[in-house]
């Protein structure tokens, strides 16, 4: 495999609710498998260290991003980039739904979920503070921006990452399945529609990683996917099945899409900024 291809490992994983120790053991096994199969990056879903339906457990499970508990990820990232999700104990004792990106033995990026869902079956605002920042960072395979679950449903956030020059959006999720009247879960179409639009019109790769398993009757769908810069879904994991799924991404397609369609060149970010400013008056 030459530099043109990036091998990506999606850990469509089932955490044990509220048991960080066991979850870290499970992560390590999968990461070692990823290293063995020569993946460059392995991505776990949202809140992969804890599970989703935490409620009061968030107070018991919050971790500082520099906690020694997380050391194994730092060490293992010498051999593979690692993306995990966890309950972050931030400054001023604020608790965030966060993502950590480890690379080359270091913590490369820490992203905090911006758009917490708080309606219907969701009550994240009761337990979490929302993040304040969004950024892209350099990796060995290009510029990466990260999102967490519902963030991905805001085109404005994907657009912001496009503006900041992202070649990749990595979005980690804990999306409960719902809607059983159609061929696939109705909830799945929402994620795939967004993924296809962002990847095509922002000429980038979109990697969406969702978890599986049930918690108190909520089923997490899986259906993780990768959409390429032409807006095509090139990989889709099965629903409900736990597994480590590998895909080779052709990195040359980003250059190709950027030069052919020139969306980035022809976008006028200053103009959009002015439009938004006008609208806020």
């Amino acid at each position: 495999m030459d530099d043109r291809y990036l091998k990506i490992a999606i850990a469509q994983y089932k955490p044990i609710l509220g048991d960080i120790k066991k979850n870290i053991e499970k992560h390590i096994k999968l990461i070692n498998k990823g290293i063995e199969d020569k993946a460059s990056v392995i991505i776990f879903p949202e809140l992969s260290l804890t599970g989703y339906l935490l409620k009061d457990l968030v107070y018991d499970l919050q971790l500082d991003k520099n906690s020694t508990v997380l050391e194994p990820f730092k060490e293992l990232s010498e051999k593979i980039d690692i993306v995990i999700g966890f309950v972050e104990k931030g400054e001023n004792r604020l608790i965030y739904n966060s993502l950590l990106y480890y690379s080359k033995g270091k913590l490369l990026s820490n992203y905090r979920k911006l758009r917490l869902p708080n309606f219907g079956m969701f009550e994240e605002k009761r337990f979490f503070k929302h993040g304040e920042d969004i950024s892209v960072f350099n990796t060995s395979y290009g510029k990466v921006g990260t999102l967490i679950c519902r963030d991905f449903l805001f085109p404005s956030l994907a657009y912001t990452l496009f503006y900041k020059g992202a070649d990749f959006i990595i979005s980690i999720s804990n999306s409960p399945l719902r809607g059983i009247e159609t061929k696939e879960y109705q909830s799945q179409a929402m994620w795939e529609d967004a993924g296809k639009v962002y990847s095509r019109f922002f000429s980038m790769n979109v990697v969406y990683v969702n978890r599986v398993g049930f918690e108190d009757g909520f089923g997490f769908a899986g259906g993780s996917f990768i959409a390429n810069p032409e807006g095509k879904i090139i990989f889709k994991a099965p629903f409900l099945e736990e597994g480590l799924y590998f895909t080779d991404i052709d990195l040359s397609l980003t250059d190709k899409a950027r030069s052919i369609y020139a969306y980035y060149r022809d976008e006028d970010f200053k103009q959009i900024k002015n439009f938004l400013n006008e609208g806020l008056k």
């Binding site: 009061d56 457990l57 049930f214 918690e215 009757g217 629903f239």
Partner: protein, 270 residues
């Protein structure tokens, strides 16, 4: 209202397997009546856990229909390697001999609770979890015995209307006579669900689906020509049975109260 039965089957098999095995259990028990709901629940559980891990319990009373009993045995043989038949006539009759009543409903509720007490006893004997068989229609209309047939640990059918359970049953290829049978709790001879509830499942399901799933207003539903009396009857049934769908309420006294601000998931640490 139409479901994709294949997707539902797959989802519920994962649900049953996950919600049982994560607690360290391998097996499940359930009461098999020869009716549609318990048959469908048994088919799904058998697929999720394997025939050797499902123990159906057939619990007839002297008035139970022979036909239902035969159908239940037929299903039990399809879905499980072994089943138990426990006749409760003696204990029910002794109880009502000492505590006489003419109320059919009291007798029916007692039978339903006797069955559930046996199912939970067997769950302990067999180290098995109890699979519930109440569908969304019954749960919403409150058509079930509180702490009787409504009691269970894991309920795969609780988000499917009766109409949808029929669709799933057809997909699962359960015996034809069970799909064709008139729905009945079989708590006394000649009882049928629809007569007792005073509404047909099909119409009840449509009204419930529009109000609950589709969040339509009552005004919209009446404008579409649904019978006003039936719509209000359904609404009243849903409201008056709300208590059956909740845990017993606790008076808040302390600064941290179970269910109010002591909020942990059931699947905590498993």
């Amino acid at each position: 209202m139409n479901i994709n039965p294949e997707l539902v089957e797959r989802t519920l098999i994962h649900f049953i397997r996950d919600e049982i095995t994560k607690f360290g259990f391998k097996k499940a028990v359930l009461g098999l009546s020869g009716g549609l709901d318990s048959t469908v629940a048994a088919y799904l559980t058998s697929k999720a856990l394997g025939k050797n891990n499902l123990i159906p319990l057939i619990i007839p009373y002297k008035s139970s229909s022979k036909k239902n009993m035969d159908d239940a045995i037929k299903v039990a043989k399809i879905v499980a390697e072994k089943h138990h038949i426990i006749n409760i006539t003696e204990q029910i009759d002794i109880y009502f001999k000492n505590n006489p009543t003419e109320e059919k409903l009291f007798i029916g509720n007692k039978i339903a609770r006797e069955r559930m007490s046996i199912i939970f006893d067997y769950s302990a004997r067999e180290k098995a979890m109890v699979i519930g068989t109440s569908n969304k229609t019954e749960l919403l209309l409150g058509y079930g015995t509180w702490f009787g047939d409504l009691a269970s640990s894991v309920n795969p059918l609780g988000d499917l209307y009766k109409t949808q359970v029929f669709q799933l049953a057809a997909h699962l290829k359960v015996p034809e006579q069970i799909i064709k049978k008139t729905p009945s709790a079989d708590l006394w001879p000649g009882q049928t669900d629809e007569e007792e509830m005073g509404i047909m499942y099909k119409i009840a399901d449509e009204i419930l689906y529009l109000i609950i799933d589709k969040r339509k207003s009552v005004k919209d539903i009446l404008d579409w020509g649904y019978d006003e009396d039936l719509v209000f009857k359904v609404l009243k049934m849903v409201k008056s049975s709300q208590f059956k769908r909740t845990m017993p309420i606790i008076a808040k006294l302390s600064h941290r109260t179970i269910g109010k601000d002591f909020l942990y998931p059931r699947d905590w640490g498993v």
